[in-house]
């Protein structure tokens, strides 16, 4: 009885979209190669070591949070507060380091603060049962207002600790530290999603929450974990960003949440939950950041950096829609 369905050929754009939707990762790799090729033809310095490191470092910031966001979206939830939390975390990290004169204390403060934001989001969603979209928009507003109540202007580096600067700008061997951190986060989340109970349960939760509950899964705790993990990863990123800027900027991270979500969805993770992969997210991040970089080194107007993710996120979701519709009859 399990005969495969006959797929009708679709005309024009629909067919290309369907093909892309079927193999999102292969398409992203091709897209990435094409972009790199095109940009390097127009601007030879694209392949310079400095530029590649710049791209990787930029990608690292997005990827760390995107790893958490991928987990959340697979579980059927979303967090729009990551951008506002990022800025606030940076201020907290710098302030705590200034006061204590200790980098570990600053790092812990960043993780504790961002983790607490994640916990708050998770509790509002699981206990008060507020739709996560609305709940995290509200958290975003609270954080945006809160950060100005906390500090009127940027928190400057008064401790001048080399180790603090090293978090963002330092190298371990040939590799920038943020890139290594991102690689570690990527590996850990990849393994967690693929090979642990947590990952399998998260997929199940997003794919069919009722089936998950009937199977005896701890649905609330699982969701809560997704929010807290995302929060902690925002903490890591906030720390790096604050180190890179050498200040805690209350205005940092505007629109960061949308870049992250754009990358995750571009990577083939479904907004509807239950489907997605971290490899796809990695590719999505790279595509967006290479485009960003291209805009800069080709000396285009940097305001295109707002337009491009907007178009990309809509197009990526369209592909996802086409794929889902093609399967569902």
């Amino acid at each position: 009885m399990a005969s495969s369905s006959q797929i009708q050929p679709q005309p024009g754009a629909g067919r290309i979209a369907a093909a892309m939707a079927g193999q999102p990762q292969a398409v992203l790799i091709v897209l990435l190669l094409l972009l790199c090729g095109a940009i390097s033809l127009a601007a030879a310095q694209f392949y310079s070591l400095a530029n590649i490191i710049a791209i990787l470092r930029q990608s690292a910031l997005v990827l760390i949070v995107a790893a958490g966001m991928t987990t959340l979206l697979i579980g059927g939830e979303v967090d729009l507060s990551v951008g506002a939390s990022l800025a606030f975390t940076g201020c907290v990290a710098m302030d705590a380091t200034n006061r204590s004169g200790s980098v570990p204390v600053g790092a812990l403060a960043a993780l504790a603060f961002a983790g607490a934001v994640g916990l708050f989001n998770g509790l509002v969603v699981t206990r008060l049962r507020v739709n996560s979209l609305i709940a995290t928009i509200a958290t975003m507003m609270i954080l945006q207002g809160g950060v100005y109540l906390y500090t009127r202007e940027a928190v400057q580096n008064q401790h001048h600790l080399a180790a603090f600067t090293g978090i963002g700008a330092g190298y371990l061997g040939a590799f920038p530290i943020p890139v290594l951190l991102a690689a570690a986060v990527f590996a850990a989340v990849y393994i967690a999603l693929r090979h642990t109970l947590f990952g399998r349960y998260t997929y199940a939760l997003g794919a069919n929450p009722i089936a998950a509950r009937l199977s005896g899964l701890r649905v609330r705790r699982l969701k809560l974990a997704g929010f807290v993990i995302t929060g902690l990863l925002v903490g890591v990123t906030g720390l790096i960003l604050c180190s890179l800027m050498n200040a805690g900027q209350p205005t940092a991270g505007r629109g960061f949440e949308l870049t992250v979500i754009a990358a995750v969805i571009l990577g083939g993770t479904s907004l509807a939950g239950g489907r997605g992969s971290l490899i796809g997210t990695l590719l999505g991040v790279l595509v967006l950041k290479v485009i960003d970089n291209g805009i800069i080194i080709l000396r285009w107007n940097q305001d295109f950096q707002m337009v491009v993710p907007g178009v990309v996120i809509v197009a990526a979701t369209w592909l996802d829609t086409v794929r889902v519709r093609r399967r569902a009859v």
């Binding site: 609305i134 928009i137 609270i142 100005y148 949308l258 950096q305 809509v314």
Partner: protein
């Protein structure tokens, strides 16, 4: 057949009653806390300030009721000011400027509606995308500065700054008129009822012969046009097309709409509830400002109120089940 008994039932059922009480409580609190709060000048000022969110909120509420989401209004506010000012500067005609603004707004609504209703792309994503693209477009066009109004038409100035009989700001008058018109449409025209049906149960609506995508499409177009009206008023107040106008405006509007009892899942809500939501948040912002609290408290309080309102709604819904 608005019999008084029915009216009362409608009021209590649609949770506009509690909202009204909430609004009165906010007003009462600040009236006691500040001497100048309850002056005619201050009240009419607040109404003027609330009118932008009210106009855009009508559209957003209609889109919500149809079962979709529209968060593009913040950037649209800034974007429509550009054709308005540019055309006015070139032609010295307010009418042509407004026509140009409405044309851009209409195009944005059509694009949103086409992508969300016909291509069935998640409307949150579509309108987030529009939000980004429009803001980026505004920055690109203006080079991140404001475009001043060189025509200096008195009629344009009056639009946002004049007052009816010297008391009520014109934007508030416009918002009130639009509110009444659309409340009538949603409650008493077949189109409005179709919107409710399409959001309440799209399958039933389809079986009843409704063209559900077209209904949703129309909602997006209406929403964009109403946001355009708000954008025109704002441009008049600012006297220029400001590239950062309306940053974060979409979240205020969504907050007010949700606070006003319009369900995110579609089919439920009233425009009067939305209007009360806008007024509560506006009076709150104004009052906090008068108490010399930092304006950032507004954001914090608004965020907290949204969480409280939505979780209360959710709690009530579960009690009913």
């Amino acid at each position: 057949m608005p019999q008084s008994r029915n009216l009362l039932r409608v009021l209590t059922r649609r949770s506009e009653g509690p909202l009204l009480l909430c609004l009165l409580a906010v007003i009462g609190f600040f009236a006691l806390a500040s001497d100048t709060f309850l002056s005619v000048r201050n009240i009419t000022n607040v109404l003027g300030q609330a009118s932008l969110a009210m106009m855009a909120g009508i559209g957003v509420a209609i889109v919500f009721i149809s079962g979709e989401v529209d968060v593009s209004c913040g950037s649209l506010l800034a974007a429509v000011a550009i054709p308005l000012i540019v055309v006015m500067n070139a032609t010295n005609s307010l009418a042509l400027g407004i026509a140009a603004a409405l044309a851009l707004g209409g195009v944005v609504g059509v694009v949103n509606g086409f992508l969300a209703a016909y291509l069935r792309i998640n409307s949150l994503i579509v309108t987030l995308g529009t939000l980004f693209v429009l803001r980026g477009g505004v920055y690109l066009y203006t080079g991140q500065t404001a475009i001043p109004d060189d025509a200096g038409l008195e009629s344009f100035f009056q639009l946002g700054n004049g007052r009816l009989a010297g008391v009520l700001p014109y934007p508030a008058v416009a918002a009130l008129v639009l509110l009444l018109v659309f409340a009538y449409v949603m409650g008493h025209r077949p189109f409005g009822r179709h919107v409710f049906a399409a959001g309440g149960n799209p399958d039933v609506a389809r079986l009843a012969g409704y063209d559900v995508p077209r209904i949703k499409f129309a909602g997006f177009v209406v929403s964009a046009l109403l946001a355009t009206c708000a954008g025109i008023m704002l441009a008049s107040r600012l006297g220029s097309a400001v590239h950062v106008a309306g940053l974060g405006f979409e979240f205020q509007v969504v907050a007010a709409v949700v606070l006003g009892g319009v369900s995110l899942s579609g089919g439920v809500g009233s425009l009067f509830g939305m209007a009360l939501g806008v007024l509560i948040l506006s009076f709150l912002a104004n009052g906090l400002g008068m108490l010399d609290l930092a304006t950032e408290w507004q954001l914090v309080v608004t965020g907290a109120i949204i969480i409280a309102a939505v979780s209360f709604d959710e709690f009530k819904r579960r009690q009913k089940l």
